[in-house]
Every structure is written in structure tokens, then in C-alpha cells.
Amino acid sequence: MKKITILPAILLAFATILLFQACDEDLPTNYSFDPYEFSSLDENGGQWVPNLLTSSSQIGIPAPTDAGSAEFQAELAALKTLSAQLTGEQQAAVDYWGGDGLIRWNEIARELSAKYNLAPAPNADGSYPAPDPANPANYPLFPFAHPPYSARAFAYWAAAQYDALITTWHYKYQFNRPAAFNADGSIKTHLPLNDLPGYPSEGAVIAAVSKDILSAMYPLEKDYIAQKATEHQNSLMWAGMSVASDITGGDSLGRAVGKVFRMRAASDGMKFAQTPKPVSDSIRDDAQARLGWHWVNQETPPRPVGITPLYSKVKLWCVPNVESVRPVGPPAPNSPDFQTAANELNDVLDNLTNDQRKIANFWSDGLGTYTPPGHWNRFACESIVKNRYNPLRAARVLAYLNMAMQDAGIACWDAKYYFHYPRPIQAMPGFKTILGTPNFPSYTSGHSMFSAAGAEVLSYIFPADAATFQNYSEEAALSRLYGGIHYRFDIADGNTSGKAVGQYTIDRMKVDGGE
């Protein structure tokens, strides 16, 4: 009986399997970095110029108790107890938030963008339902966080943080109450220290602004966001960084600033961007009359309205008007210039190299992802950590980056519906792609505009990495050609227009006092 012969082989296999499983580590769900000492404190940050607030003192907060007061001493004593011994959960929260938590909240904003970036499924009769902000939990869930929506969510979140932190710096140095660990050196701390005055807590401000803005942008996530904000603010005490009144003061400041930005959002035109079909049809008919062509969605069943035909009317941040950055226009379909571009597309897709395929996929940032603006936020956060920026300076990066990208999106959508240009799959019969073609006109490429604007801003702020950002921008733009969903002229003109948007943003940045 040789039944034993395969036993050794089986045992060997199990050993291999176990070894294999042992190597199966958890995959990263966020950016791993160590909390760092700030490269500068920007003590004069309270004099920088906010974007929406009229001044750094527009929002008032109560004066804190005096550093020598019994109340403050009692708060210090309470904090000392709180931070002396942390549970595993508390330590994990301290490590995760790392203090101000700006990077983490940016990641949360990216995560929500990815989670909500799904298009409505068709009904059985071939029609399509639409998300309803008044009933966000009804399918399709609100929002559909497509790039225009996500760009706007990022922009409000970041711009609000920046104005709130300018205000925070103003009060920190006005009241000049020392941070807890500087007031009492015996308090055990769990994070790198700095000499910023403690009131109000910048981390509490960031949590409150994030909670306020992100809850408005992603209403179904209100509870999740609130739980995160509470944990974040608690972590500041567990870390021995802030007393309770620092956090209370920061929280009320953050909420007040959030409200100002939400008021802008309520009347910025976004609620009209996703038009009903008659409006969409009239935009199309106008393009047909003016240009002799129009874009048509090619899906089955066809989607009756493209993504946000009137996003072009949404309020801009730094660009004076969309006409000032409007591109020259595409060549007429079937003109020699069009034919050249179409031939190139056919040729590229028929002979796609593995490198080109990888570029198309790497930058695809499509449905179910954080969109191109999310990708650029990721780069910005990595540069912020690399340069050890304090949260005020970090918020400045994110604010201008995201205002530039939303402006780029608004300008891009103007071009898209003004020129109403057919996609390759519409204009080139039989042409097939390796990426899904988005539900809006072709000219110009959104990837190109978002990326060019983002790269301009980041290159200006981080000149040492300018070449890298420009390479990213070019690759992101070209990825759309390799994917088969954009002509080269969509990309080239989008790039030019996106750079122009970036310049307007940089011009604003140059005079905000943060240079």
C-alpha cells in the first residue's frame, strides 16, 4: 500500500501555503509618516490674507482664561492625568492623527470622493435616476462625487481650513496662552513639541472645519465624520498637547468658519450645474447651430444628460471669468487636423505598448476613485510632510491647489459644453478604447486641465520638485490619449488652459502674505 507516498508532498505543500500566508501583510489604507517637528512656525500667519473671510479677526472667539488662573491650572492637572497612561486604542488614535490631522482629513476627503464616485445605474425602462440632495439615502445615493463635484468638495474643505487657520494664528498670538506642555513641563506628551501658543488648538479647528464641510458635502457620512472628529479632538488631549478649553475654542472657531464657506457653497451655482434634459438639449442645440456638431453620449441605454452641463457657471475662486482661460477651440470633425488626430489615436491604440497601458491605468482616476484632484491632493500631502510644513502653511498649499483645480474644472467644463465636441468613440466609427469614455464632451481633457493647474501651483510652492510635478502633469494628460478617450488637441489645449488657471492662482498667492 503506497498510500503514504504523497503525504510528504502534501506536508510540503502545507508548509509552502503557510509561508505564503505569513507574508500576506495588511495593505496600507493611508499614508504612513511619522509626526514631525515643524520646519517653521509662521508666527506672523495671523496677518496673512484669507480668501473668503474679510480678515483674520472676522470670526471672534472668547478670550481664554489666563495662564496663571486656577481654571487653567485645573485644566493642566486634568490633562496630566489624561495623558499619563494611554490605552492601546488611545495611543493608536494619537499615532494616527499625529496632532493637527490635516493630512488625515485630506485622506478622509479623498476616501469619501472615491466611495461616492459611482454613476447611477439605469432603470429597467432605460431611463436613469438622479441623486437627490433632499433625499440623499435614496438610490442613487447623493452625491455622485464625479470630478466636478469632488474638485469642489476638496476646494471648500481646503480653502476653509486655510482661512480658519489664518484666524487661528491670529488668536494664538493675540492671546498668547502657552500650550499645555509648555505651561507644565511635567505633562507627558506623545507627539513632537512646538512653540505655538495653545489657544485655540489648531487640531481642534481642523477637525471642526472638516466635520462641518465634509458633512455638508457627504451628508450620509455625517455620523462617521462626527465620530472621526471626536476621536481627533480627544487624541489631542491624550497626546498631552491641548487642554479642554484649547479644543473648545478651536471647535467653535472651526464651526464658525465652516458656516461662512457653506453659505458660499449654497449660492455658488452648483445646485443648477446638473441641468434637466430640456436645458441640456438647448445647450446642445446651441452648439450645433453655432459649430455644426455636437456631442452625444454613447452608452447603452444612452444617458440623457451629461455630467454638470452648467458647472461653467459655478463661482470661481481666483480666475476672473471662464472666457479669460477659454481655449482656442478644436478642429472641425473630419477636417484634416481632426483626421490627423484620429489617425494618431487609431495607431496608438492598435499598437499600445505595455508602458502606455500602464500610464493609462495609473492615471485613470476614474469611477470609484478619488478623481484627478484627489490624486494631486495626495502628491501635495507627501510634499507637505517632506517639507515638514506646519498646518497653516500646509493648508495654504492645499487651499491654492484645490482652488486652482476647481477653477480648472469650471473652465474645462465651460470648454466642454461650449465646444460640445464628440468623443473619439462617437466621431470614429468602430473605434474602441481601453478606458471607459466619460459622460461629457471631449474638448478639453479634464485630466489635462486639473493636472496642469495643480502642477503649476505645486511647482511654484515646491520649486525643487517642479520637474517631477510637470512630468506627472504631462503623463496624466497623455494617459487619456493612451486610453483612447481624448484626442491630442484635447490634451494640448487643456494643458495650456490649465496652466493659465494655475497662474491666476499663483498671482493670488503672491500677495496673501504667506510667501
Partner: protein
Amino acid sequence: MKNILHISILAYLLALTLPDEVLAQTPSDGLMMDRGQICFAALYTHDTWDEYWEGTLKRTNGNIGTLTRQTVMPMFAFGLTDRLNVIASLPWVRTQASGGQMRGVSGFQDIGLWVKGTAYNNTLGSGTLSLFGVLGMTLPTSDYLEDYAPFSLGLGCPDFSIRATPQYQLDMGLYVRGTAAYMIRGNATIERDYYYTTHGVYSDQVDMPNAMSYGATLGYWLFDYTLQVEASYDGLNSYGGHDIRRQDAGFPSNKMDFTRAGLFMHYFPSFFPGFGIVGQYNQILTGRNVGQSTAFTAGITYQFGLWGAGETVNTVN
């Protein structure tokens, strides 16, 4: 953006590629090659579906229409000893959709290697009771993109499996067989470094769910062991993984489950010793994150002695 919005289109992408299961008939059957015997098989499979399960929701997708997957699979089995065989295969796959505007793909999928042994083989009553054990692995060969549902050629990950196949065959040719395999999968590597499953992941690595496959077969050798016919019921359960969200595209680490019914025949014409003709039909009955595929397979086999004293025709336990 753009892509982003691919909204639509995208929806389609769901992946239905199950390397070990679709094609590896031989590792799970009840046949052994005698020492020195070698068997070549060339199989063609035509697999189509026009409905799929998005999570547990069964639906069609106009941007896919009918998905067709054609597979050409050379396979060989070799008797190292009477009780120990090795099996290898390398499928070539082509996929295309009748709807939408996305390109299909083609290329070599995963090379498969199996070692199959007879763990037990004894007469019992008027028949024979056998137990076969199989260790196997499949490895992606070409640089195909697994993050391209539903067109992707395979799951894009290494897959190690251990299988047990008990069989009882009456001397008159009727047999029943069960089979169960556990598949341990390594990571797939995709071409982007952020994706969302039930949460965001900042990596180009995809943690693939392990899976269990199982099956039961009733078979009969007819006409003096020249025609083998079988009816089977089998299935796959993934451990872990996630559902395709509403109107999202499929992803390699989706939780893919199915049950399936099949018919199989293998004919060994007595006038052409060594040759065999294979036909197979499989129908997915229920599923989750897979297409409801209907598959037809046709092929030929040729068996001969390389050395040793084996017979030149099929060897039945």
C-alpha cells in the same frame, strides 16, 4: 476626470475568470496515467454570458452586451509512476463584448502545474474505492491586466491548491465521485496604486480572497469502456473579498461564488487507439460577482506510452 466618469461604461467591468476551475478538469477527475504514459489534450472552450451578478443583484449591462470568452488550452498529463502523475496546462484566452466600446484582449493566461497521486485504491464490494490527492499551482504568464473586468484574461495572482477526490466505481462502469479543493491565492499586482474596495487602499497590490471549490459527479463507462459520460454539479466559494457595488466595475478581489451544472463525455474510438474526443457543457446556476456563463468545450486527447509497460488506451481505476 474623464475617466472618472466613465461612468458608464465602466460599469461593466466585472471579472469572471477562474483559472483553476474553468479549465482544470483533469486535476479533479478520477483518472490516472500509468507509469510512462503521456496524454496530450487540446481543448477549445466557448463561454458566453449576458447576465451577471453585481454583488447578489442579477443584471444585464448594455455596455457589455454579451461577453464571449474563448479559450484554447493545451494540456498534458504524464505518469511518473502508476500512482503519481503530473499535469500541466497553459490556456490562451480571448475576450470580447458585443456591446460598449471597450477593447477585448487576448493572450496567454496562467500556467498550471499539478501533481496528482493515488492515496488509496482498493476493491470494495463489486467495485473500487479510490482517493486521489492533488497539489497544484497556477501562475500568470503574460503581462495581462487583471484590473480590466470583465475582459481580463485571469485573476493575475498565484494560486496554490490542494484537492482531494474520492471515487467509487462499480465494476459495471458506473461511478460516483466527489471533489473538494482549497485555493490559496497570493496578491495580484495592478497598474494603479490606489483603489477602493470597501475602503481605500494605497497600494498596487490586491489581497485576493482564498476559495474553496467542490463538486459531485455521477459517471458511467459505456460500450466496453470506450465512452465515458458524466453529469456534475460543482461550485466555488470565496473566503473574503467584496461585492461589486451598484454600477461599479468588477475587481480582481471581488467575492466570486457560483454553483454550476455540467455534462461531460469522453469518447475513445476503438479503431483509433490512443485518441479520444472530449465534449463538455457547463452552465452557471447561481452566482455572486460572476457572469452567468454557458460554456461549451470540445477537444481531442491522445495518449501513448513513452516508456514502461502501460496500456495504450485509457486506464481506469
